[in-house]
């Protein structure tokens, strides 16, 4: 039951969501470009379909954390 991307009604959500993702990720300066790309895709897919656990886990494992916190 995916939303049709050609449907103009999906436009409002996508444009606002895109802007929100761009804004949130630009502030995440500690994260890699690959992580940002994958998270963007994950969020986009989350609004249109169910996500597989493996897709989600892979993105989590790409996130950078302050290693000092693990001590």
């Amino acid at each position: 039951m995916k939303a049709e991307k050609g449907d103009p009604r999906v436009g409002a959500l996508h444009s606002d969501l895109d802007t929100a993702v761009a804004e949130a990720l630009s502030a995440a300066i500690d994260q890699s470009t690959e992580f940002k790309r994958r998270l963007r895709k994950l969020i986009e897919n989350a609004t249109t379909s169910n996500l597989g656990d493996d897709d989600v886990r892979e993105v989590i494992e790409l996130a950078t954390i302050d290693d000092g916190l693990e001590e």
């Binding site: 959500l13 949130a24 989350a46 609004t47 693990e70």
Partner: protein, 645 residues
């Protein structure tokens, strides 16, 4: 995704709906106007539409109340839908004897095409069509009020669900589940002693999360109650004013007191602003403070503080091959110099202290300034108390003259004041982050959300360490944090988009009034000036706001939903009706409108010239039988039949 209603039928329901069928499939139209006189089952139909879409639980009393007559034990409401072109049939089967009900669905995906028990809509749609959400498009006047009611959270909920931002919340739930699974796997391969630790921290973590959820629910409930109490207090104040103003002499005195109050408020504001400014300059607080600051400045000078040699000087010296006296600096000397260099201040610190010294020596402000402002402020506060007492006196005089209603209102205001105070204290204890207040209020992780939050994090870290999954936990937290930020930012943008569209429609609906939505929070907050003093928004205005909001919300959403509405124009005056009648038809792909004959003028007649409109009239021919007639001529002339009946 597109949902259309193709028709519906009733069996053995009250209002003469014993065997009535409405078929929209045979002559499909974008708009359907169904004229039903009062008492023929409009409200019943709306309730059953909502039930059929959402699968909500119906109470036994509600079910029994739908019974057509004592001679029937079972009833039925069936809706036929098209979902993305595929046919679905939903039945609400009613058992009047025991007050129970069952949902059944027939859909094309099932090979037999037959009925199966339960409401089997596509998963995506089932998630959307909650009981609350369904009320947005199977719409009645009550929702118009609720959209504007504080604490109901309808407006924000609608945007979140309709634009699928709730899916981002589900993504975070999924991440949480993955963490839990990872920890379970890790715990399964650990030793017995480690497993004991894991179990202990898992229990502590679960308990802390449950406590946090309960505290958050308590906070929401208290906030909701506080808003309701505040709204009630405002209403009571308006009612009290109204009663005072019924007496001309009291009205005059009240007006004088109100004007005096404005002057006092201004004086308090000015004195407070000045006082706050002075508080930022310690020398202006009291002569003793000036004196002590100067003494401190002099002491620093006498002690030659700060030292003129900085830590940087020694660090540079340690790097030199020899000292200024020519002696060689050995590695041992170097280590000694570096270790002692930290006893000296850095250059920037010296700079700050020197500036302080200068400021202290030059502290020449008038120490009595604050005292003067405080005296003015105290005077203004005394005036305020006097003014309040005089106001109170007015009310008491009226009560003594026999106004028992005013006496009751005053007692309620007084009780509300006490309840609000209790509520504030509870909320503060629940939410304060101030360590001193937490101590004073005896707050701990059992009754304070920030402390409980800290406990959740502590248990989570302990659990993660015990299961050796700390890295994954921290990564998950980072992703969840980013997803929540995206959801919040997107919601903010969508709210603003819907708000602007709503206001543009309001200008068209009610051009003569400056009715505008200032903010979409949990509810719609209106920004028009003077609404409160005019006694709030009328029912018609409320409906206009709700239409403007819903049409803005639904027309841009990724779902095409039918808009089913009961008495769409009954509380609107004729001018607004005409605007609504002209504007809303184009905003939906399918509209089903239940109207009464008085709504024809100004609203239904806006559809007479359109093509693609079905006009249906449904009325009770006698106590047992309901008639259905198609066509505009009968629809228009129905009042004669009604009058004759």
């Amino acid at each position: 995704m597109e949902i259309r209603v193709l028709g519906w039928r009733y069996e053995n329901l009250r209002g003469g709906l014993r065997d009535v069928s409405i078929d929209l499939e045979s002559a499909p139209g974008r708009w359907t106007l169904i004229q039903m006189p009062n008492g023929t089952g409009k409200t019943t139909t709306m309730s059953l539409f909502r039930a059929a879409f959402s699968g909500e639980h119906l109470t036994p009393d509600f079910v029994r109340d739908l019974r057509a007559a004592d001679d029937v034990d079972n009833g039925l409401f069936e809706v036929r839908l098209s979902i993305d072109g595929k046919p679905f049939r939903i039945q609400v089967r009613l058992n009047f004897k025991d007050g129970t009900h069952q949902y059944w669905t027939a859909r094309s995906e099932v090979r037999s095409g037959g009925l199966e028990e339960g409401l089997s809509l596509p998963v995506d749609l089932k998630r959307l069509l909650t009981s609350d959400f369904t009320r947005l498009f199977v719409f009645d006047g009550e929702l118009a009020k609720e959209i504007r009611a504080v604490g109901k959270d309808r407006a924000a909920m609608a945007i979140r669900t309709l634009y699928r931002l709730d899916r981002l919340e589900h993504l975070n739930v999924q991440i949480g589940r993955l963490v839990e699974e990872q920890q379970q796997r890790a715990a399964a391969v650990s030793t017995a002693t480690e497993r004991k630790g894991v179990t202990r921290w898992k229990r502590a973590y679960d308990a802390a999360v449950a406590r946090k959820t309960a505290l958050a629910a308590e906070q929401r409930e208290l906030q909701k109650r506080r808003k309701e109490m505040e709204a009630r207090r405002t209403k009571l104040a308006a009612e009290i004013n109204e009663r005072i103003e019924q007496d001309d002499a009291l009205k005059l005195r009240k007006s004088q007191l109100d004007s005096e109050r404005e002057t006092i408020d201004r004086a308090i504001f000015e004195a407070t602003t000045q006082g706050m400014g002075v508080l930022r300059l310690p020398a202006k607080i009291h002569p003793n403070v000036v004196e002590r600051l100067r003494a401190l400045g002099n002491k620093l000078t006498r002690l030659k503080l700060p030292k003129t040699i900085s830590a940087e000087f020694f660090k540079e010296l340690a790097e030199q091959p020899e000292c200024i006296c020519g002696r060689e600096i050995t590695p041992k000397d170097k280590a000694a110099i570096l270790s002692r260099a930290d006893s000296y201040l850095a250059e920037d610190q010296i700079l700050v202290i020197n500036k302080m010294k200068l400021a202290l020596r030059e502290s020449s402000a008038d120490g009595a300034e604050y005292t003067r402002i405080a005296t003015t402020l105290n005077g203004a506060l005394r005036d305020l108390r006097r003014n309040k007492m005089a106001h109170d006196q007015l009310e008491l005089e009226r009560v003594e003259a026999g106004d028992t209603e005013l006496e009751r209102l005053r007692a309620e205001v007084s009780q509300l004041g006490r309840d609000l105070e209790t509520s504030e204290t509870k909320l503060e204890k629940l939410t304060t982050r101030d360590v001193i207040r937490q101590r004073l209020l005896d707050a701990n992780d059992q009754n304070n959300i920030p402390l409980c939050d800290a406990e959740v994090r502590r248990c989570q870290e302990k659990l993660a360490t015990a299961t050796d999954t700390l890295r994954f936990v921290l990564q998950s937290e980072r992703v969840k944090e980013l997803v929540s930020t995206v959801a919040a930012l997107a919601l903010e943008r969508l709210r603003e988009r819907v708000r602007i569209a709503t206001n543009a429609k309001l200008v068209q609906f009610v051009p003569s009034e400056s009715l505008q939505v200032a903010r979409i929070g949990g509810s719609l907050e209106l920004g028009s000036s003077g609404l409160a003093t005019k006694g709030g928004v009328s029912e018609g205005q409320s409906l206009a706001v709700a239409y403007a909001f819903l049409t803005s919300l639904l027309t841009e959403a990724p779902y095409k939903l039918p808009f089913i509405v009961d008495s769409p124009a009954v509380s609107l005056d004729t001018a607004v009706r005409r605007e609504v009648g002209d504007l809303i038809p184009d905003l939906f792909d399918q509209m089903i409108m239940f109207v009464i004959s008085s709504e024809r003028e100004g609203f239904a007649d806006a559809f007479y010239g359109r093509t693609g409109v079905r006009f249906i009239t449904l009325w009770r021919a006698d106590s047992e039988r309901t008639e259905v007639r198609d066509g505009l001529p009968f629809f228009r002339s129905f009042h004669q039949v009604e009058a004759a009946a």
